[in-house]
């Protein structure tokens, strides 16, 4: 009998027992593509984010990893509500903010902030550091005029900059220092959730570690939850106990750090991981060999049918083009969306997703888990049976 558990409609406390501060379900962002000319008809959609679900625990952090163009920034901008999603829900502290109006969003701006990727463009070149970091206080009328400077200086100190530099302009600082200014601005309103969109990828390698360490300290000190976006698995490993891997607008694998780095099950995760130096070799099949993905990420305007990764997947079979693999739970905190999910070099010959190689249902056990959290039971890939804790 096929036991497909329905996607949960609401976030439940996840296995770890920590309540989520952010619970995203079936998030979708389709950007319309307009024709040229006077009458601009919509001729298609960029499916930048298509049915993404995840949660971030209070004070915890989730890593969101994927190649360029897979929809990470769009996801971040949806959660901060710079964009309005075309579908799905964004539960923040129990409230669905996906449809909030600008007026409703105003108080929320204090709770959710963002650190931007490029410190060269994320600071207004014509504003002093004091004006940049103090802007949140001015906009939200939090302190009087006299209260701004002391708070700005305090924040500069927190992020490791010289408080005397309040009257300098961004161009007088190095890249790493500018990113610290951006971090200070994000901290000004004491947010509960920070979306860090590739906060170090524009920085010199020698400075990346410093900034990551700063973020880590801040998280501990102020109990801030992080959605940490990165394009490779090395950076988030240090930072995030849980990591979601995204490909072309969808989450293909999400797991706790231990499982993801030692037992990645999705071919895409395995390829990403093989590019990470110094990861224990067992994780990638005993040999230090980089899996090179051929080609580029396909256009999100016309994503491949079935599994979106199939055009580049080293183990793709015909069925992958016909049936889209569901996101299945395969461990206490481990989900994967692949018909042939398995450890590198040990991918099964028949689909584990309850279908045969032709795509017809076999009646095998499927533990679909499309919701943001984790189920209490999961599919044991070695036995093909449903198990629980």
């Amino acid at each position: 009998m096929s036991t497909t558990s329905a996607a949960p409609k609401h976030a439940r406390p996840s296995g770890s027992g920590v309540e989520p501060i952010l619970s995203v379900e079936d998030l979708q962002m389709y950007f319309p593509v307009k024709s040229r000319g006077v009458i601009r008809r919509t001729i298609g959609h960029v499916q930048a984010v298509d049915g993404v679900s995840f949660e971030v625990p209070k004070g915890g952090s989730l890593g969101l990893v994927g190649e360029s163009g897979c929809g990470k920034s769009t996801t971040g901008r949806l959660i901060t509500r710079l964009y309005k999603p075309t579908g799905g829900s964004i539960g923040f502290e129990g409230e669905d903010i996906a449809g909030f109006s600008p007026r409703q969003l105003m108080p929320l701006r204090r709770e959710i902030q963002m650190i931007f990727q490029d410190p060269a463009t994320s600071l207004n070149p014509r504003h002093t550091v004091g004006q940049i970091i103090g802007a949140p206080l001015v906009i939200h009328k939090i302190t009087g005029k006299d209260g701004v400077m002391p708070r700005v200086k305090e924040l500069l100190e927190i992020v490791g900059l010289n408080p005397e530099h309040v009257n300098r302009y961004p161009h007088e600082f190095s890249g790493g220092q500018r990113q610290r200014i951006g971090i200070a601005r994000a901290l000004t309103l004491q947010p509960k959730l920070l979306v860090a969109d590739e906060p170090v990828s524009a920085l010199d390698v020698s400075i990346q570690a410093q900034v990551i360490n700063l973020l880590q300290d801040l998280q501990r000190e102020f109990d801030i939850a992080f959605l940490f976006i990165a394009h490779d698995l090395a950076i988030v490993r240090h930072f995030c106990p849980e990591i979601a891997v995204m490909y072309l607008g969808k989450i293909v694998e999400v797991a706790d750090r231990e499982s993801l780095y030692t037992r990645p099950l999705h071919p895409y995760t395995q390829a990403l991981l093989s590019a990470v130096p110094d990861v224990r070799q067992a994780a990638v099949g005993g040999r230090r060999e980089r899996i090179r993905l051929q080609g580029d990420v396909p256009s999100p305007i016309n994503p491949p049918s079935g599994c979106r990764f199939r055009t580049r997947c080293p183990i793709a079979k015909d069925v992958c083009a016909k049936v889209e693999p569901p996101l299945m739970q395969v461990g206490p905190r481990h989900k994967v969306a692949c018909h042939f999910a398995g450890e590198l070099g040990h991918h099964p010959a028949v689909p584990v997703t309850g279908i045969d190689v032709e795509g017809a249902a076999t009646g095998g056990t499927v533990v679909e888990s499309a919701g943001p959290g984790f189920e209490d039971t999961w599919l044991d890939l070695s036995t093909g049976q449903r198990t629980g804790a």
């Binding site: 600071l123 802007a135 990828s201």
Partner: protein, 337 residues
Amino acid sequence: MSLSESQLEVSPTPDEPKADDQPQSLEGLSPTKLAVRRFRKDRLSMIAFYVVAFVLVAAILAPIFTKIGIIDPISLNQDDKLIDPTLGGLPRGAAGGITWAHPLGIEPGTGRDVLSRLWYGVTFSLSISLAAAIVAIVVGTVLGIIAGFSGGLIDATVGRLIDLTLSFPQTLMLLALSSIFVAAIQQRTGLSTNPANAVYEIGVLGLFGWPAVARLIRGQVLSIREREFIEAAKLLGASPRRLYFKEILPNVWAPLLVSFTLITPQYVSAEAALSYLGVGIKPPTPTLGNILTDGVNYALTDFTYFLFPAIVIAVIVVSLNLFGDGVRDALDPKADR
């Protein structure tokens, strides 16, 4: 690009961020200061700057000097020793009646002092040109920012408005509607003829001048709005007003300053041309335009009376243009020319 594990392990403690704590070499030099420095290096620009400064000071001093009696652009001097009634009021003596008392001669027919009239004329002409330039800049900037930032229907509407304005037969309009509008302004505001003429001229010059500014600013805003600091401001809950005037406007100061310095001389010439066509401030109030217009009638009989206003206009227009070019080059060292 990527950060390897080992680098993370050996990373310095967070209390030690000073490694990248060295401000860049150009410490303390804001973009403005650098621009000023570049401007100063350019001889021609500096000469233009001094001429412009001299003209501005003179323009400011004219009303004061008139009040305390040093110059007198209005009083008639129907003195037969100065003008020759038999020659239709032409000045006696060489070169348009140049004497110590009247260094640039006297006006034919009226005997008014030409230097006084030109001097005060600079004040009126510059006031009109600057006021019209301000109108063009303000309207163009506001519409340019809103169009560039909003995009979509608003952008398209402003675009059509620009096309419409540019395709208007401006000069014809200026002439044809002048008397009607000036009369209407007088009726509405109770102004006398010449102030009403000035208002009309400023309004029309400004309203036909904004499209160029709007286009320029719109283009700038299109690239500025894609930068992340705009998103950061939105994320903080900044109002549209704050976005336009606090986040964007400071980033378009440079092109605005350049267009201001280049539009003003255009308007100085335009004032002269319009005067010739009979629009604008009328004598006895002097403007460079109406003096020159009068001078044209005497181009053969009293050449210097024609020459001096022409020289003054040329000097002002050329120096303002050179000054504007210098400002542009100083602000944008990459642009060639």
